[in-house]
Amino acid sequence: MLLREVGYARPGSLGEAIELLVADDGARALAGGQTLINVMKARASSPDTLIDLSRIEELKGIDLDADGTLRIGAMATYTEILESSEARARPILGDVCAQIADVQVRNRGTIGGNICTNDPTNHLPPLLVALDAQMTIHGAGGERTVSATDFFLGVYMTAVGQGELLTAITVPAGRADGFAAVTLGVEGTCIVSAAASVNGGVRIALGCVDAVPVLLEPATADADAVRAAVRDANLDPPSDVHASSEYRSHLAEVLAVRALDSASENRVSEKRS
């Protein structure tokens, strides 16, 4: 409950932040703090320095381009996303953000923090994989883009390297998306989650079943094909106090179908409107 001694800086620009991260490999970005502060309370991890990103304008904002591309700043909070009219261009984003934890957490937690933490039970990594989002990463060497599929590398590990920062997440407009989860209590931590998208081909991403979201691309949206795709993924999910490996594998099949059904329904309603 009590942090170890730590240094703190609150840079005003992206450049400054990168400089600070490059200068000290014990430095860690502080986004909303809804995970990192708890980790530090438990002393499971104790960075030397916290680089508070809250004053960096370049990381904020939700913009909708003319071609329908949604660009979300990494420091956009869950509340900002679910209240944003621009973000309604991809409604599933706000719908899922609204299910995360509670109002207090949503007011400070950020999309960037959520995906850079890459806790296997987090909602947004599988969602963004299903949506085939693009992540923009800034470092000393400049800017690069990584697709969601390549972004998540392991538990708590992403493509954002030392001295780099995730700055934005880009997602095309669309409505044919779905999300289904079994959680620990209503809107609690995910036990298993599934995100699906049928804009074009079928993409289903499973959460909580592996170190990183598991992407499935079945040939059709047919329930049997989806279940077969889950089984063919040869999942070996973790067992813990909330679920056995077997239960998680089973839920993965059920939720993949439900997420996809939801996505298909949303596509139909899109066609109507």
Binding site: M1, L2, L3, R4, E5, D102, V182, L184, G185, V186, E187, G188, T189, I191, D240, V241, H242, A243, S244, Y247, H250, L251, V254
Partner: protein
């Protein structure tokens, strides 16, 4: 879209309503609490105080080979440390309630030589700031030699099981056999015997939002400790701490004010309080301890985990239950702190709510390498009442009997009250069948099959279940002698002092330690009704302070008793005061007989001549400051202290027979669940809670606790579990993994009530507050009902998270095989 409807049934009123009794008077406590002006223990500060951090064991079972605190003590701002070695020199082991072998445990404030559960406190570090104490504790070096831990009570008595307490010669802590009636005759008379191999009541507790804590000061000149704490049973803490610390009890002053929930989980903090006392004396400064949430979960107050094995039930074909025999295996965790009292307290409700007369229960309590068990809301009765309710539903399912009919056939009947149970307890009053009807009506029992079909059309399995339970209140501590005949405890008591001050202020001092039960409010209601004054003019001191000398050996707030013990003490003291006021007025009025006087509107006056009135202020002034000329033998102090003592005898220890509790509140709940057969996930879609707590002084305060107990029970049956891995690590040590109900989890709630006054209490009240876990019983029954046409699994565990329901759907045979029916 959810809606909650509160639908109280009509209260049966047999006498004209008095002014405040029975009214929802707004609580006196609220004004300070809604402004954040409550004083909870972490709010109390002293100049120069040191903050304590306990270094705790990472092993479930290990010898301690060495402890080195030198590096921690070198840090500037660290005031000092305390180790088990010092504690073993400065104190004697805590008194053990148990007879042999549990009696041989050597329990100290810190681990001595060995650690026996993950989270056990080994060293205390005290520093200038919280952070520094925490930092310095990382520099304490402890070397361990791990031993194989025992995490399953069913393995604790195996011949090759490692011994957790060598002093006890093994892991058996206490055992006793209870038998009443004629089992052989009952089983001979039975048509069928239903056998249930194993039922399991799981480990959880009530996780009050405020954890344990204390701020302790030591007065070197007088040898007096002042312990600001949130311990809810200072009487018990004192008798544990005094002898251990080799000090008289009056040197231990307990002070509480606001306590953030107790539910029994704040009774056994005495080891930590001793550590605080020793440190306050050693370091010459006040020391402060606030328990971390993780430490609370891993080291304090788990509820009894209990297995019921080899149960056999004697039944007639028409569903009449004649009796049962069973073996209860109780997992006490690593230390006996309030245990093994759990080994007898269940017997307050031996037959549950049912009329069977032939009962045998073999109780075995063992130690395991888990957190020590202590009272938890519904202490030891909840486990037993869950067991009797499971029997009813399992027997009903096996013999294809209606769950309502079998209950009504077997419920103790209202006309049989007061009812003496097979072991001599007396259920004071109640009408269980009527409560059941109310509950069934509230959730639309008659429409259940239509509802079931509608749910099925949406792919859901609907289930309806009944959970009936008792909340026995006001213990006879003589039952402790059934655990250990050498113990010198019996009866019960509570104290109240009511005085009229110099300016006519009415001041009430309680012996209790309320944690939200509204004692200041209900006490004021009782006083105002007797003194016939305004409730607002009654000032009830907040909290508890030993220095007020308004407490006795059993004082505290636990075990569902305030409405009986506390309020009876208040009534006694106020009656005394009222009599003294009249006696004084009689003298002042020149000898007017006391029968001619009455109390009204804050005065004492002559009935036939109301203008001849002495306001309370005048009475107070006369006695306190203007007493010349009063009769020599007047004997009036206007400061009345009353000790309430419930009418108990010492039970017959050999026959294990006698009245163990004075009052029996009851609850009947009905739950409606919808199970998703694809995932095992389930929702509670409708819920009715019907209670009978006797006469209710403040109905809102009673209902509030009924609702709170319901919510805790629902949390326990679906999510809350203290689960250990095989190394003895607690897998649910915080609110992240130990999910308690949040707002969105709450089902719609319908409530009803009846009032069956207790014939045994001054106000007709019954103790209440614990609830008896009706929600657990009801949801278990509902889940079993939902699964009945889909495999027919038996619910054999009180913990039913989604994955277990899924297992029951897939492998119903796993639980069905636990049950068999044979012809008698």
């Amino acid at each position: 879209m959810t809606t909650t409807t509160i639908a109280p049934a009509q209260v049966e009123v047999e006498a004209p309503a008095e002014q405040y009794k029975g009214q929802n008077v707004p609580r006196k406590e609220d004004r300070r609490l809604v402004q954040g002006q409550g004083v909870f223990v972490d709010d109390v500060k002293r100049h120069g105080m040191g903050y304590i951090h306990f270094v705790r064991s990472p092993y479930a079972h290990a010898h301690i080979s060495s402890i080195d605190v030198s590096k921690a003590e070198e840090i500037g701002g660290v005031y000092g440390t305390l180790t088990g070695e010092e504690v073993a020199v400065l104190t004697d082991p805590f008194f053990q309630i148990s007879s042999v072998p549990g009696a041989n445990l050597k329990d100290f404030a810190l681990a001595v030589g060995k650690v026996r559960y993950v989270g056990e406190a080994i060293v205390a570090v005290v520093a200038e700031t919280r952070e520094l104490a925490r930092d310095a504790s990382e520099l304490v070096e402890i070397e361990y030699e791990p031993i194989t831990p025992i995490t399953d009570a069913r393995q604790a008595l195996a011949t090759d099981a490692p011994s957790i307490h060598e002093d006890a010669g093994g892991n058996l802590m206490w055992e006793g056999t209870y038998e009443w009636g004629d089992l052989d005759a009952a089983f001979a008379e039975a048509d069928k015997i239903v056998k249930i191999d194993e039922l399991h009541f799981h480990r959880f507790n009530s996780t009050p939002l405020e954890t344990n804590g204390a701020l302790v000061e030591y007065n070197r000149g007088t040898g007096q400790w002042t312990i600001h704490t949130n311990n809810q049973f200072p009487g018990f803490a004192a008798i544990m701490m005094g002898p251990a610390m080799r000090t008289g009890l009056d040197k231990l002053r307990f002070v509480t004010q606001d306590i953030g929930g107790g539910f029994g989980n704040k009774i056994t903090s005495h080891p930590q309080l001793v550590a605080c006392c020793l440190l306050a004396r050693k370091l010459g400064r006040a020391v402060q301890w606030t328990e971390w949430r993780t430490d609370f979960h891993s080291s304090m107050s788990h509820g009894n985990e209990r297995w019921f094995q080899d149960t056999e039930v004697a039944v007639k074909n028409d569903g009449t239950l004649l009796g049962f025999r069973t073996k209860a295996l109780d997992d006490a965790g690593a230390w006996l702190r309030y245990e093994p009292l759990g080994g007898v307290i269940w017997a307050q409700v031996t037959p549950g709510m049912y009329r069977w007369r032939h009962i045998r229960l073999e109780f075995t309590q063992v130690a395991t390498n888990k957190a020590p068990v202590s009272p938890n809301r519904g202490y030891s009765r909840m486990q037993h009442l869950w067991f009797t309710e499971r029997i009813i539903d399992i027997v009903a399912q096996e013999l294809e009997l209606d769950p309502v009919e079998i209950r009504k056939r077997n419920y103790i009947r209202t006309e049989e009250m007061p009812y003496e149970t097979p072991n001599g307890c007396v259920y004071d009053s109640g009408d269980y069948a009527k409560m059941l009807d109310l509950g069934l009506d509230l959730i639309g029992w008659d429409e259940r099959e239509a509802r079931r079909a509608e749910a099925a059309s949406r792919g859901k399995l609907l289930g309806v279940g009944i959970g009936s339970t008792l909340d026995s209140g006001t213990n006879n501590f003589g039952q402790s002698r059934m655990i250990n005949p050498e113990l010198q405890f019996s009866g019960n008591n509570e104290v109240a002092t009511v005085k009229l001050d110099i300016f006519g202020e009415i001041v009430v001092t309680l012996g209790t330690t309320p944690q939200g039960q509204g004692h200041e409010t209900t006490a004021a209601q009782v006083v105002a009704d007797i003194l016939k004054c305004s409730w607002e003019d009654v000032h009830v001191r907040a909290g508890h302070d030993s220095y007020w000398n308004s407490h006795a050996g059993f004082s505290g707030t636990y075990a569902s008793q305030f409405a009986v013990t506390g309020l009876s003490a208040v009534k006694g003291a106020t009656d005394m005061l009222a009599a003294e006021i009249k006696k004084l007025a009689s003298a002042v009025f020149g000898g007017v007989p006391e029968e001619a006087l009455e109390l009204a509107e804050g005065t004492v006056r002559i009935k036939d001549n109301p203008d001849a009135a002495l306001p309370f202020m005048a009475c107070g002034a006369i006695i306190n400051a203007n007493n010349a000329g009063l009769p020599e033998d007047l004997g009036v102090t206007l400061n009345c202290r009353y000790v309430y003592r419930p009418p108990f005898e010492v039970p017959d220890v050999e026959k294990k027979f006698g009245n163990l509790t004075l009052t029996y509140a009851a609850q009947v709940h009905v739950a409606v669940v919808e199970v998703d057969p694809e995932t095992g996930y389930y929702d509670i879609v409708d819920y009715a809670a019907v209670d009978d707590c006797g006469k209710r002084i403040n109905p809102q305060i009673v209902e509030g606790q009924v609702m709170g107990a319901t919510a805790q029970a629902l949390g326990a049956v679906v999510h809350e579990q203290f689960v250990y891995d095989e190394d003895g690590n607690l897998l649910t040590p915080n609110f992240y993994d130990y999910h308690v109900p949040h707002a969105l989890d709450m089902p719609p709630l319908k409530t009803g009530n009846i009032e069956s006054p207790s014939p045994f209490t001054a106000l007709g009240t019954k103790g209440m507050g614990e609830g008896g876990g009706a929600g657990i019983h009801a949801v278990c029954a509902a889940v079993q009902d939902a699964l009945r046409a889909h495999g027919g699994a038996i619910v054999a565990d009180s913990a039913n998270p989604y994955h277990k329901v899924w297992d029951m759907l897939r492998h119903p045979e796993e639980t069905k095989k636990l049950v068999s029916v044979v012809d008698a």
